[in-house]
Point group: C2
């Protein structure tokens, strides 16, 4: 036998793989989610698993302690199967299927483009905000066609076209042979009462589907936010705009690399592109299927998908080689993708249903940002507005209804809970709020879902860093101060660390800590975001204080503490009312585009209008960045209220 059966515990998922397969790959194949940041290169040490039974061949690694090795720990990416084996994935190495706990998921509530659009800017400007019409990517229309007579015996197709043109003004109507082939019988068997699905396709309207009878009340769509680490799918009723459900899952591509660069490299390997494509599409299909089942909807009734994602995700979803994204001059194959059938990308909805990928600007500013602008309404703002979207890359947009500029800054995945010791995403069990008593160093954590903590998510790290700073447990350089009267500051395997939650209090069987390395990472991340915003503004001759509104977006779940974000110097020290945390603006924008073709056209306009500024080639950037990796900043005069509040 050249194969071995790997059983993953505790779920007892079994998979048969060829001998020589590494455990990480076996896990991906089995649909078991193992942490991994480095793309299986043995570097990050996050894919630690325990061999309970059977032998595996494991390479030597400095990422495991002697005790761990004795307990049976191996790195999943560096251990290969040579016989049947039973593998336990400890909680810390596990990627849970996450549920993004946004308000939207709490209830089935009417939440259209209209209500949201009005919310965007308060006061006078509200009225100027464009209200998008109801014109979904795919619309069902019920038609009672007049039966043909000797006096009115135009062909079936012309009869249909005529009825549609009487119904609404459609300049260019298209349809495929498949519909024509079935039309004759279908019209007659349904006694000329049919439902037509009209799809918006690149300036034309396609008769996508023809169904007998009146099915017009059953028409659903999916808005997708495909992030580097998390995929979110939202099901909505294309007639009523009602959101029926939201589900999120891990982007399984992470098994092949934590960031987009690693994945681009992986894509160039044999079958690499195929694997990355399937990793994302399989996850998308699972989400859609789960949403459909939960809402008692057939996949055939889902007729349109809008997708917002960064440029790499766009390429990988469509199985377009991302090779040229990472080579100078960093050119995507497509920013403006034509609307295609979702099936062409492997997405399982109605086989003739449509997929609209929202347009991006460049290799580093994708459709997730353009729809973020749409969702936040910057493109309609009279006054200067900024959007800061924090993901693995931090993207900054500055502008108003006249102009838009953007830049991208490599923030690293710390705020998404990756590349940091106890990091997790904003999911159940994630520590999202932290308070540290400056007197006795007691720690109060607030955990998503109110359960025992499993790790720290992005907003938790912001709070932790701010609180450590306020409690004077770290220096302005971020260095942990030794000698505080608490056993929470201690020396771990990687140097000094601070314990947020003791093993006995949590579910991870280990203490949840923030290490010196983590702090350095987070300080760099916040510095990269701050600097990008600063340089972008200065390039446009804009003073930060002249910015009217700053929207914050990103995968923080429902919570981000603006005050503490300013304490650590991630955000500039401006009046707090100027800031607004808007959650996942990418998903919101994708929903807008799904529900309204006006919104879709607006995103295209935004993408065309926006100027991308490449910071990596800017000589000022490195200088400003170096100054920013300090708490809150090397130049303390920039943060007067922080200095005062923290009595520095």
């Amino acid at each position: 036998m050249n194969t071995g059966v790997v059983t993953f515990q505790p779920e007892e998922k079994k998979i048969t793989v060829p001998k020589g397969t590494d455990i990480l790959s076996a896990g991906i194949a089995a649909g078991v989610y193992i942490n991994s940041s480095c793309g299986g290169e043995g570097v990050c040490g996050r894919c630690r698993v325990i061999v309970k039974n059977g032998r595996v061949v494991s390479e030597p690694t400095g990422r495991l302690t002697r005790e761990e090795i004795e307990k049976g720990y191996v790195l999943a990416c560096r251990a290969t199967v040579i016989e049947d084996a039973e593998i336990e994935i400890p909680p810390a190495s596990r990627l849970e299927k996450e549920q993004i706990l946004t308000e939207e998921s709490k209830a089935e509530r009417l939440f259209g483009v209209f209500s949201k659009a009005v919310d965007i800017e308060k006061g006078k400007e509200t009225k100027e905000r464009a209200i998008f019409s109801h014109s979904p990517l795919a619309t069902k229309i019920f038609l009672k066609l007049p039966s043909p007579t000797l006096k009115d015996n135009i062909s079936d197709l012309e009869r249909l076209y005529r009825a549609l043109r009487e119904h609404s003004k459609i300049p260019i109507l298209q349809t495929g042979l498949a519909n024509v082939r079935k039309m004759g019988r279908l019209f007659r068997e349904s006694r000329w009462e049919v439902t037509v699905l009209l799809g918006k396709r690149n300036g034309t309207t396609e008769i996508v589907l023809i169904e007998p009878g009146d099915t017009s009340h059953r028409n659903f769509g999916i808005a997708l936010d495909i992030g580097t680490t998390t995929i979110v799918a939202e099901l909505s009723d294309l007639n009523t705009h009602k959101i029926l459900g939201i589900k999120a899952t891990h982007n399984r591509q992470s098994g092949y690399g934590e960031d987009v660069i690693t994945r681009m490299v992986y894509a160039s390997k044999e079958d690499g592109l195929e694997k990355l494509h399937h990793a994302v599409v399989d996850a998308v299909n699972e989400l859609i299927f789960a949403l459909a089942v939960e809402n008692e909807i057939s996949l055939n009734e889902i007729t349109g998908v809008s997708m917002a994602g960064n440029t790499t995700m766009l390429h990988l979803l469509l199985r377009v080689d991302p090779a040229y994204l990472r080579r100078e001059p960093y050119v995507p194959t497509a920013n403006f993708m034509p609307v295609i059938r979702a099936a062409e990308a492997g997405i399982k909805i109605n086989p003739r249903g449509l997929l609209a990928c929202l347009p991006g600007v460049s290799t580093y500013v994708g459709g997730d940002i353009t729809v973020g602008i749409l969702a936040s309404g910057i493109d309609e703002a009279r006054k200067l507005t900024m959007l800061i979207d924090i993901g693995t890359n931090g993207e900054i947009v500055l502008g108003n209804k006249e102009w838009l500029v953007c830049c991208s800054s490599s923030a690293g995945p710390a705020f998404e809970g990756s590349g940091v010791c106890s990091g997790v995403r904003a999911m159940e069990g994630a520590i999202q709020r932290v308070e540290i008593d400056p007197d006795n160093y007691d720690v109060k954590c607030s955990v998503i879902g109110g359960v025992k903590p499993v790790g720290i998510c992005g907003s938790g790290y912001v709070d932790t860093l701010a609180e450590l700073f306020k409690a004077k447990l770290i220096e302005r350089s971020g260095k942990i101060i030794e000698g505080a009267k608490t056993n929470r500051v201690r020396t771990g395997t990687e140097g000094l660390e601070f314990v947020l939650s003791w093993a006995k209090e949590n579910k991870s069987q280990e203490d949840i800590v923030i290490t010196q390395t983590d702090i350095t990472n987070i300080v760099r991340s916040k510095g990269a975001i701050y600097t990008a915003a600063e340089i972008l503004a200065s390039k446009m001759n804009v003073k930060m204080k002249d910015i009217n509104k700053i929207y914050l977006a990103g995968g923080f779940g429902n919570y981000l503490n603006i005050e503490k974000s300013i304490w650590i110097g991630m955000l500039p020290d401006l009046p707090r009312k100027k800031f607004e945390f808007i959650g996942n603006s990418s998903l919101t924008g994708a929903r807008f585009a799904l529900l309204s073709y006006d919104a879709m056209a607006k995103v295209q306009e935004i993408a065309r209008k926006m100027t991308y500024i490449e910071l990596s080639v800017d000589p000022d950037f490195m200088h400003a960045y170096t100054a920013s990796i300090f708490l809150p900043h090397t130049d303390a005069s920039r943060f007067p209220t922080v200095m005062k509040k923290l009595s520095l």
Copy 2:
């Protein structure tokens, strides 16, 4: 063994078929062309074959004489295979692969839309004839794209769109995922020098193909005339308009029925539609392949096909059920078919190449007629003009640049050489001109290709009838007169007949004759055409003499004698200069539409503008028809010059 091998002689084509298969079906499967008019119902008796070896089970039939049965003759459609058998197809039962001997086939000559268009109407009106622009269905454009730089790093797709929009004004550009997927590598490997194939698709322009380097000089198209009995394909260079070749073949659907009604009935049988579809597509593919090979062109270099055919042929080519065409109120599924990929209809050219099916008006007036109008230019004529297209149905168009009306009349297949005793199509060996000496009844025949005759084609029948009439060998009723001093008039198995060519003089091993039944058939055919023209004119309150020009079209090859057509009363007795025989106007029109999108738009305009008049429901029709089945007409005063010339 439940199968038997049938060997067809003399070509020795072998095919293995299940026992119980009839020989006609086996022939179609083997690609051997056996005559058949009745759709395999055992009625027409045209599929006589000789069993040379092996046994077949054959049903009793009145269609074979005792001598024939003794010689081994069976009807192919009524004889089934029960063991291996060797079957000879005598020349009279054989459908040769025909070569339409038009002038166009003689030489590679420049023959564009321009030259033809100017020819249409002489004198003053010439200048008014629209000249169509060079804008083929599919155009290749060679582009040298600027290489991307950091300052110009728009995506590959946008770079292509930008270059195309600089090249020409294109409002809506579309492309598919397949092209996007290969674009990145292709652009770079070809150093940004690529050839783009742009296709016209329903009001939009599609990037159909992208090829490395400059292939723009290699772009070819096919114009198809799909007739009920004959399929003609013409290859032309889409850049130069040069016609590279014309080939014609038998429409193999004839094996399933001679006329469109029989085929519609056959289509409703199990697999009937599939079989009819494959019969026509296989023939089309063979023609295209042969043209490509002869001209050293790869099928991939053929990027567009335009197709003119009657409405039934359109449906069968596209595998669209024609069921509703034959039921009141006679509704086609589609008259205006969107442009699709040729591959969707099974046509083998470049897999992404396009197929434009030219629009028709109704079930009985198809794209063959609308393009005939285009080719003849009636739609641009200032004065009243008529087009008479003679096929299995005779179609008549009347109008000018202000209005167009048309009707259809069931002429029967006599003029296509079907349903008549010695009939063949206008192919090598067909008697196309006939003269009978009124004194000694000597017959002079002119045969297509200058070879020994095999039968009589449509123009031969017109001549024969006219000459018999002139020689007073038939009465004005069409009845053959007994007692003439010639052995050419004799009594055959079906009554009186006239021998045109003795067996010893020809290749068919039988005397070539015109029987009393044939004459009756032809008189009915000519009557149907005359009556249709007459009624159509009278419905429009037009006197035939007020018509400025009458174009004649149809599958007569290069020759139709206008004078003799008037003698027999097929055409009205008007000044001869008013008539012009324009050959296969359907093919010419299809070529126009292939080479110029203006022409394509014009055909659509023609189809929309044209009013179809249903003659079968007209109370005047039957009365007028009855009066017309006389030579030249019951009302001799309508044909004064004929009465004078023939001294009647």
